[in-house]
């Protein structure tokens, strides 16, 4: 049996070359490779400021002092490690599809986690609903441990995704780069939860994961469909016309989510589980400006 996540060595090697590209504003933690605006000790010049009592006089820019007759000190940007929060929908609706949606999401997290650890960033995992939690850790040495953690994750039943996101936002006030991996199959919507996360200053990346069968079912005939997560049953008769209508409805629903994300400057990536993870990580995420 292939060991989780089953990535090839060339792919892993490519992952080490990638870095996350968050927008400014998120809180860093500890030293790292991510430049932040606040002053620091890196070689990246940031700004001048008036010399104040207590500043290290070695930082005084003597050239500007000679011209202006006033002391100024150079400010350099700091390099911090960023904290990546992986929020994964582990409800029963993710326990569906061919390829399996939850497995696909976990593999994707494994790849992103690998990228994060390679960049000396912090990785944190939280399942929705609560059940699996991986605390903030960084460094390549914890990657096997992270993979092992991911490999043990199972579906956790039903949950209201929007409410869970709000709760998560309340418990995690520190602005972070949050990767939300979900199918968003929540009848009541997840927009409220996302807004709450944004209000806390989190930068959100929305990876909308669906199975191909969900956007274009291949079944025909009379069925009694049962909701995998909630157990709701509905009788449908699927002919060509009905499937066309359903396809259009799914498309409208996806567009609504996409427009919402666009309006809130959230990178939205629609991911079909049939698409290779390598292509997603190496091409689509860099194109979306999430990785560089």
């Amino acid at each position: 049996m292939e060991k989780f996540p089953g990535f090839s060595d060339p792919f892993l090697q490519r992952l080490t070359t990638l870095r996350f590209k968050p927008r400014p504003g998120i809180a860093g933690k500890g030293a790292g490779e991510h430049l932040v605006r606040k002053g620091g000790a890196s070689v990246e010049f940031s700004d001048f400021r008036t010399y104040t009592w207590g500043d290290d006089y070695r930082l005084i820019d003597w050239n500007s002092y000679a011209r202006l007759d006033r002391p100024f000190v150079k400010v350099y940007r700091d390099e911090e490690g960023i904290v990546l929060h992986f929020l994964v929908d582990c409800s029963d609706s993710m326990d569906w599809g061919d390829p399996h949606k939850l497995q696909y999401a976990l593999k994707l997290i494994a790849a992103l986690g690998y990228v994060a650890s390679s960049g000396y960033n912090w990785v944190k995992f939280q399942s929705i609903p609560e059940g699996y939690f991986y605390p903030e850790r960084r460094g390549r040495q914890q990657i096997p441990q992270f993979f092992q953690f991911l490999s043990k994750i199972k579906p956790l039943g039903k949950c209201h995704l929007g409410e869970e996101l709000k709760r998560y936002a309340e418990l995690n006030p520190r602005p972070s780069l949050v990767f939300l991996l979900t199918d968003a199959l929540e009848p009541t919507g997840i927009e409220g939860g996302i807004r709450r996360l944004l209000a806390r200053g989190h930068q959100l990346v929305f990876l909308h994961i669906l199975a191909p069968e969900e956007i274009q079912p291949q079944i025909r005939g009379d069925f009694e469909l049962e909701d995998k997560e909630w157990g709701t049953r509905v009788e449908v008769t699927l002919d060509e016309v009905a499937l066309q209508i359903l396809k259009k409805t799914v498309e409208n629903w996806r567009n609504t989510l996409r427009v919402f994300c666009l309006a809130h400057q959230i990178p939205y990536l629609f991911v079909l589980t049939s698409s290779p993870i390598e292509e997603l990580v190496l091409k689509r995420l860099p194109l979306a400006g999430i990785l560089k």
Binding site: E224, D227, L246
Partner: protein, 565 residues
């Protein structure tokens, strides 16, 4: 609720069949899907298209169940909802005896009686009465028990046929009395007979007589016999009072006797002397009654013609003998032009040398030396309906082509117009000749009673007499016998020639001839009867087809279901 046919409630079991079909119908396949809210949203956005189909399927199922339920209940004839019955018991009696075949009323008494009985039944049923239907004949019997069902009674009326027998009114009344007691039954008797006194032994019967025909106030010549110059007549007074009778022969009042009296319901025989050489004479009762058919009689004088008949079939010979003619019958191979005759008839044969006499040529063979034709055999002899025979009785309806001279080599086209065959008349060797084109063996015409009349007309024409023979009215019922040549079906046929074997063998006794007006009346009557049997029955006959409605619905459902699955 009471069911008059509770056995039909068994058909309610068909609902179980429907239930079985529903239960055995393939169920929806269960599938687990990651979500259903988008399916529900799609359904809402399309105006519940899926739900509508679901509703339609349920509707069809409900309709199927209702149809089966209603059909079963209606077949069981529920009566619990009927209001208390306040009608009377009635019995409609129809005389089917032979006398009812008399045609003093058109088309005959029987048909008129049926028509009157039909109206009476409708009237009685509309008043909420229970009606039964009886036949009066030598063996009276009940046809339909008491019912308020129009369909059953009309069906009985449609099926009843003449019995050609006598009547036994007492037996009928006995039967009715037994049937009626203890209730009182109103009896409506449709007959041509009048019963003046009823015995008191029928306390449960109230008799209403509806006379059909001229049973009342009627004089009729019921039989006649002409021998030489002596004519014997039998005249009957069907009325209730004594009548004085004056006779006329060929339009002139008879002087000896100038008049005589006939008591009610009795017959008087009269002997007369007639003179003249006309082929027929007309005897009539002066001012008898408005209905003229039995007031006059035409009698054919025995013909003294010597006829040479060259034929291999017996039809013409029989007819000629019936006409009282002297027939020299030879077979075609024995024919010789030396045989002398006043008239020669060739059937299916035409000699090279023709006799020196008037000729009647019937269906001459192909390739004869006189003429030829084509296309005739395919057409056949176009007698399609009995009414067409009436036309043959009137010689004026036969159309003639005038051919001045029939000579060898002449080509005569032969054709048919409608139902009337063409006759060709002309002159051969200074004698009249008539060509009757169709073959007699292709039709029943020689077997019809009108054939001798037709033949007599032709012979009279060939002898130089003016065409236009008139016909006879048939006589009263007790003299009437079942027609010998008319065929079995009398009811619904037009009045035809009725033959009777008399002392002189096969001769005409009476013959009915319809004028144009009465022909129209007859056709009108037929049309009315056809309308009655098809039009009024049509809604009832739909009942069996209603069984197909649930089956059709099930079929439609199956088709639709397959389309959507």
């Amino acid at each position: 609720m009471i069911f008059s046919k509770p056995l039909f409630l068994i058909s309610l079991l068909s609902l179980l069949l429907l239930l079985y079909i529903v239960l055995r119908r393939p169920r929806r396949e269960k599938r687990v899907f990651s979500q259903v809210f988008l399916f529900l949203r799609a359904r809402r956005e399309t105006l519940s298209r899926i739900s509508r189909w679901q509703f339609l399927k349920n509707l069809i199922l409900i309709l199927e169940a209702f149809f089966l339920l209603f059909l079963s209940l209606s077949a069981s004839a529920p009566q619990g909802v009927m209001p208390p019955w306040a009608g009377k018991y009635c019995a409609v009696v129809l005389d089917t005896s032979l006398s009812m075949m008399a045609t003093d009323v058109a088309p005959n008494r029987f048909v008129v009686a049926v028509s009157l009985a039909r109206k009476k039944i409708e009237e009685l049923l509309s008043s909420g009465n229970q009606v039964s239907f009886w036949e009066l004949s030598l063996n009276p019997k009940i046809i339909q028990n008491f019912t308020s069902n129009t369909h059953l009674l009309e069906s009985a009326l449609d099926k009843i046929t003449p019995s050609y027998s006598g009547t036994n009114i007492m037996q009928l009344l006995d039967l009715l009395e037994k049937w009626a007691a203890p209730k009182v039954v109103e009896v409506y008797l449709f007959s041509d007979l009048a019963f003046s006194v009823l015995p008191n032994r029928f306390p449960h019967l109230v008799l209403h007589q509806i006379g059909v025909g001229e049973a009342v106030e009627n004089l009729a010549i019921v039989s006649a016999n002409l021998q030489g110059e002596r004519l014997w007549l039998e005249i009957k007074n069907f009325g209730n009072k004594e009548r004085e009778v004056h006779l006329k022969i060929d339009g002139k009042r008879v002087e000896n006797p100038s008049s005589f009296w006939i008591e009610n319901m009795s017959t008087q025989e009269v002997a007369l002397t007639v003179t003249g050489t006309k082929p027929y004479i007309k005897v009539e009762i002066e001012e008898a009654d408005p209905l003229e058919w039995d007031n006059a009689l035409y009698l054919i004088r025995p013909q003294s013609l010597r006829v040479l008949l060259v034929s291999s079939t017996p039809f013409i010979k029989s007819a000629l003998q019936a006409l009282g003619m002297t027939v020299v019958s030879v077979k075609p191979e024995d024919y010789s032009p030396q045989i002398s005759s006043d008239l020669a008839i060739f059937e299916d044969f035409l000699p090279d040398v023709l006799p020196d006499s008037p000729l009647l040529i019937i269906h001459p063979p192909q390739g004869n030396k006189l003429f030829t034709w084509s296309g005739l055999e395919k057409e056949g002899f176009p007698i399609e309906v009995p009414s067409s025979l009436v036309e043959f009785l009137d010689f004026s309806t036969v159309q003639f082509y005038e051919v001045p001279v029939l000579q060898p080599g002449a080509m005569i086209p032969i054709a048919f117009w409608g139902k009337t065959p063409f006759l060709f008349e002309g002159v051969i060797s200074d004698h009249r000749a008539v060509l009757f084109a169709p073959s007699l063996s292709l039709s029943n015409f020689p077997l019809e009673p009108s054939f001798p009349v037709f033949l007599l007309n032709v012979i009279n024409y060939l002898s130089g007499e003016k065409a236009g023979f008139q016909s006879f009215e048939e006589t009263r019922s007790d003299e009437l016998l079942e027609p010998v040549l008319k065929g079995e079906e009398v009811l619904g046929s037009p009045p035809g020639l009725y033959l009777k074997e008399g002392a002189q063998g096969f001769r005409f006794y009476s013959c009915a001839y319809l004028s144009e007006e009465e022909s129209n009346l007859l056709r009108h009557t037929e049309i009315e009867r056809m309308g009655a049997t098809t039009g009024s029955n049509a809604p009832r006959d739909l009942m069996p087809f209603m069984l197909f409605i649930p089956l059709a619905l099930i079929l439609i459902e199956e088709i639709l279901r397959r389309k959507y699955v």
